[in-house]
């Protein structure tokens, strides 16, 4: 080696590539208040839009009189369904193959539904004008319960679908029924259950909640009538898909639409969907010829844009006497609200709910999901999860606990007994998935040891005795979870949204001086893409991450991709980045060989350079190669150093983890305290440990909130009871637990760098850990199942019903 050449490790470290806890490049502007979020945008002549919304959950709209509103100085227009109908924009397609009213067309179906769109010179005038729009309603019977919605005499919610017995996902069997989705072998499963030693049965409810990012949804639509181009800045987790959808429904050619996602203040799934606000802003800009901004307020966000969960999961699980699971049966009633606006791949109307066999080797299983309309807001997005994986994980992790009770077995032991073994991967699940890799036993043992599981059980047993003796009123719960996620949607052969295959993309351009820009089809909402994608690339192409700019979110410049949700950025776009980097490296190899006057095969890669095999003093660094690519005429090689990769993943990735929560519960007040929360994640190759840890903290905090109090609750009249942050539980630093993170590394065999994705694991895994801790605290007193959220009054009610209040 040349004396001047620093050692490999030193050069690798300087790149800040894979495995480096590189500080985030995004932070300089965010910490100085120089982020650029959609509401920061101010365009010349910009108007402001605001909605008149329905106070009723179900009503006929008899008339809308906007005369007084229009007469208010500063009001430019008031749009109603009647104005949108000639453009055929009064309804819009949903991501789930249904359609949704943009503005109330004859009736309203949920509280907060958009009825009219007021456009005014500023947001104050718009708000005043909203008050002046007179809407006459005739109230109709309300259905908020998905089971009652299926009664013969239940009111017809979707009159537009009356008589249509075929929906986007097959047959409908009732006027409020959307679809039935079946997976697995029903007959075989029922037969296994029928002859099993032990069968545990329980209804597991995962309540309705909301992603509630700190920034609400909004956009600025700007139609430039001179050049015929529509530009929309907005809170879009999938800007390219939004462009395609906007083109299809507006008739504006796709090249004349530019969608820009600026900085996004958190998404968590809430910003995947297309909302009436976007459509109305676009129409208003086309009508007025000036930019129109729409920013929803927090109540609107919680009441009208996409909710998550709301799955009623009836489960049966069978096992041998000694605890070997033999079968799993699940029937889910999915409350989709007034329109089926779930954000799932087209062929998966219940997302990846069929991952509900979890981490366990369950030979026979059956899943059926029935989607149902109710008078609630539409949505059903993946709130920091991959398409219903949270519901699936919660279901199986609760059913395991229920089975453990039935068997009288320790729940940790029951899990270990049934884990898919390391040597079974790739593993074909009974519900159709091929798990790529895993080593569950190793993770599980590490986790149990880390928390001193046996010691905790001993302490718990002593606590129970002390409680019975009246020496304490506090119970101790140990919440266990071993989850397996399915993320990285996904292979084009079975994953698409509105017909768009769920590949993703990266385009790299190396500049002459050896710095680079890479553009991707994804969009960060806090995940730190500008930091981590540069790290992937740094390791692939040997240029320092600090010299690589990552750009996303502008459809005019970024390559086509399906966006960021479902933990798909690293598995799909991250793979595209590595693959594009490899193309760069392949070309660089030819250039290096030419410059070194050897055959292509005679040079080899060495961190940040190509060296002549056997002659390490002869090399060309990537910086030198970059410059050469712009100034050398190399026979058979085009000038420049660029590459693009569209990556269609061969399979999903299957991150997993072991979470353990230790919780103290006050039987008298229902209050709780998290004494310990241990999170072991295996997300395959770790790109940036600092960012992974941050993702785990954040996701677990969302899980904490969901499990312990966060919900979108309705009364019988369909009124939203949790419309502000007083009642919708977002924990502060005070309530939030402290987390201990840990990891194992089982790379994905099919991902170019072995990474699996981590953003959503902690939400998926923590909810059952918290919930199981609550249940576990009461196990000794006979509790089997109690529905989330476990807020104080619900925990208190459990204690009371178990007779613990004396």
């Amino acid at each position: 080696m040349n004396e001047m050449t620093p050692p490999k490790t030193e050069r690798a470290e300087a790149l800040k590539g894979l495995g480096s806890s590189r500080k985030r490049v995004e932070d300089a502007r965010f910490t100085q208040g120089k982020g650029n979020y959609v509401d920061d945008l101010k365009l010349p002549g910009m108007l402001f839009g605001d909605f008149v919304r329905s106070p009723y959950a179900h009503a006929r709209v008899k008339s809308i009189n906007a005369d007084k509103a229009k007469a208010l100085p500063g009001v430019v227009a008031v749009l109603t369904a009647a104005d949108l109908a000639p453009l055929n924009l009064h309804w819009m397609p949903t991501l789930a193959g249904d359609k949704q009213m943009v503005l109330a067309d004859g009736k309203v179906l949920f509280q907060g539904q958009e009825v009219a769109f007021v456009v005014a010179e500023d947001r104050y005038i718009a708000a005043d004008a909203v008050e002046l729009v007179e809407v006459e309603y005739e109230e109709l019977p309300v259905v908020v319960d998905p089971f009652k919605a299926q009664a013969d005499d239940a009111p017809v919610l979707r009159e537009d679908l009356e008589g249509k017995m075929e929906g986007a996902h097959g047959a409908r069997r009732h006027h409020n029924h959307i679809f039935t989705w079946e997976q697995g072998d029903k007959d075989a499963t029922e037969s296994v259950l029928g002859s099993a030693d032990v069968v545990a049965e329980e209804m597991i409810y995962y309540h309705r909640t909301h992603p509630c990012p700190l920034e609400t949804c909004g956009c600025v639509a700007s139609m430039d009538k001179v050049n015929g181009k529509l530009t929309v800045h907005g809170t879009f987790q999938a800007p390219h898909a939004v462009r395609t959808v906007a083109s299809l429904i507006s008739g504006i050619a796709e090249h004349n639409i530019r969608i820009i996602s600026p900085d996004i203040g958190g998404g968590f799934g809430n910003k995947v969907g297309v909302y009436p606000g976007y459509i109305c802003s676009i129409v208003a800009s086309i009508v007025t010829g000036v930019p129109v901004k729409w920013i929803e307020d927090r109540m609107e966000n919680l009441m009208a844009t996409a909710f998550a969960r709301d799955y009623w999961m009836q489960g049966k699980i069978s096992a041998t006497k000694d605890g070997k699971i033999t079968g799993l049966w699940c029937h889910t009633t999915a409350d989709h609200g007034a329109f089926d606006a779930c954000a799932d791949p087209s062929k998966f109307p219940a997302g990846f709910m069929n991952i509900c066999t979890g981490s366990y080797d369950i030979p026979t299983a059956y899943l059926a999901v029935d989607g149902v309309y109710t008078n609630k807001a539409p949505g059903g997005v993946a709130y920091r999860c991959s398409f219903r994986v949270t519901e699936a994980a919660y279901f199986i992790e609760r059913m395991i606990e229920v089975l453990a009770i039935k068997l009288g077995m320790d729940a940790a032991e029951l899990r270990a007994k049934n884990f898919i073994r390391k040597d079974q991967f790739p593993y074909q699940s009974a519900l159709g998935w091929e798990y790529d890799s895993g080593d569950y036993h190793t993770a599980w043992e590490k986790a149990l040891k880390a928390v001193d599981y046996d010691g905790l059980r001993k302490e718990q047993a002593e606590r129970v005795e002390a409680f019975k003796r009246g020496e304490t009123r506090k119970l101790l719960g140990i919440g266990l979870t071993h989850f397996t996620e399915i993320v990285g949607a996904g292979p084009v052969k079975n994953c698409d949204i509105l017909g768009l295959g769920m590949f993703d993309s990266c385009e790299i351009r190396i500049h002459p001086t050896g710095s680079a820009i890479a553009r991707l089809g994804t969009i960060s909402q806090g995940q730190g893409h500008a930091t981590t994608f540069a790290q992937i690339l740094a390791s692939e192409i040997g240029l320092p991450a600090d010299d690589i700019t990552i750009e996303e979110g502008d459809t005019d410049t970024a390559p086509y991709g399906l966006g960021t949700y479902g933990s798909r950025s690293t598995p799909v776009a991250g793979a595209a980045t590595a693959m594009a980097g490899r193309k760069i490296r392949a070309k660089a190899q030819m250039i290096a060989a030419y410059l070194l006057e050897v055959h292509d095969d005679d040079v080899e890669w060495d961190v940040d350079r190509f060296v002549v095999k056997g002659a390490p003093e002869r090399f060309k660094t990537m910086k030198e190669i970059a410059f050469a690519s712009y100034n050398q005429a190399i026979p058979g090689v085009e000038p420049g150093l660029e590459a693009v990769s569209y990556y269609d993943p061969p399979n999903m990735t299957y991150p997993f983890g072991a979470y353990i929560c230790v919780m103290e519960i006050d039987a008298d007040t229902g209050e709780h305290e998290i004494r310990q929360f241990y999170a072991l994640d295996d997300c395959g190759t770790r790109i940036n440990p600092m960012i992974i840890e941050g993702q785990v903290h954040g996701g677990a905090t969302e899980g904490y909130a969901i499990a312990m109090g966060q919900e979108i609750a309705y009364d019988d009249m369909g009124n939203v009871k949790t419309g502000t942050l007083m009642d919708f539980f977002l924990p502060t630093a005070w309530e939030t637990p402290h987390y201990t993170t840990d990891h194992t590394v089982t790379p994905s065999p099919h991902h170019p760098i072995g990474a699996k994705g981590v953003g959503e694991s902690p939400n998926v895994g923590s909810v059952p850990a918290f919930s199981n801790a609550v249940h576990d605290a009461f196990r000794a007193f006979g509790l089997v199942q109690s529905h989330m959220p476990h807020d104080q009054w619900r925990i208190w009610t459990v204690a009371r019903d178990l007779g613990l209040h004396g």
Binding site: R123, Y124, A126, A127, D128, E131, D297, R298, M299, D668, T669, G670, E671, G709, A713, K721, T722, M726, D727, F729, P731, T732, W734, E735, D791, Q792, W793, W796, T797, R800, H805
Partner: protein
């Protein structure tokens, strides 16, 4: 969430403020910290034509401890109540309670006057003031009058203050003995699921005096004389505490809301009262 329009006034004296309130009647509202009123205005649940901002009135500020008498200006903020060492000496229960109100930002602007005067049953200070047997000093066009906190609250948002009166200060005798403010809530920033203010004085092992008030368990704060009487003359043994809790439970009338059903609230009211009595007794 955009409020409707209003005219803004910033008087520099109590008299000027009262004159504005008198002139505009029920179209006017006084604003102190505004963290109850402004959200209501933004939700357009409160219509205000004339907003009378009290921040310019020096007379409404300050905390004075003079001998055994504590006088707190209506515009003293929760933050100032917490920071005041003199107050912490004279009536430490106020700091204990104020720290459980809202969050740091809100405590910087939220005032004791606003907290006690707007009649929101969720507010913590009214019950505490009843517990302390505080006197509210009101100034109106007719002059000054005193109203006892225990007589002030009529129903949710209805109080003995008339529209043209201003609550200018609060006065009470520094309590003796032990104290506790015990509050159960869902999270920081929440109103009480149930809260208890308790003062207990002891003579030897015997409770010589007691005062108990409960918060957010009725449409007004509940000062419960019978509960206090159940403690006086006892050693604060279990029977006495049981009797106090029973008396209190009979006096409250909680409503179901997102914090929970009525049974739960009644039970929790008993728990927080027991804990408050225990802590107050330990300090007496």
């Amino acid at each position: 969430m955009i409020p409707g329009t209003f005219d803004y006034h910033r008087p520099d004296s109590v008299e000027a403020a009262v004159a504005l309130l008198a002139e505009h009647g029920d179209e006017a509202r006084a604003i102190a910290g505004g963290h109850s009123l402004i959200p209501m205005m933004k939700l357009r649940m409160a219509e205000v034509q004339h907003l009378v901002d009290l921040q310019g009135i020096t007379d409404l500020k300050g905390i004075k401890v003079d001998g055994g008498t504590v006088t707190i200006g209506a515009m003293a903020t929760q933050h100032e109540l917490i920071a005041s060492e003199a107050l912490a000496q004279a009536a430490p229960i106020i700091r204990e309670a104020a720290l459980q109100i809202a969050d740091p930002q809100v405590r910087y602007v939220g005032t004791i006057g606003g907290n006690v005067a707007n009649g929101d049953p969720g507010n913590d200070m009214p019950g505490l003031m009843q517990c302390l047997d505080a006197t509210y000093v009101l100034v109106g066009p007719e002059g000054k009058r005193d109203v006892q906190a225990r007589d002030f609250y009529e129903a949710a948002y209805f109080t003995a203050r008339s529209d043209d009166e201003l609550l200018v200060s609060i006065r009470f005798t520094a309590p003796k003995g032990g104290y506790a403010y015990e509050k159960q809530k869902r999270k920081i920033g929440d109103y009480a699921t149930a809260a208890a203010a308790v003062l207990i004085a002891k003579d030897g092992g015997t409770c010589s005096s007691a005062s108990i008030a409960m918060t957010n368990l009725s449409d007004t704060p509940v000062w419960c004389e019978a509960a206090a009487e159940a403690l006086v003359g006892t050693s604060l043994d279990k029977a006495a505490v049981d009797a106090a809790v029973a008396a209190m439970t009979g006096a409250i009338d909680p409503q179901e809301d997102n914090r929970g059903p009525v049974d739960f609230k009644k039970h929790v009211a008993g728990v927080v009262l027991r804990r408050a009595i225990e802590r107050a007794a330990s300090r007496a």
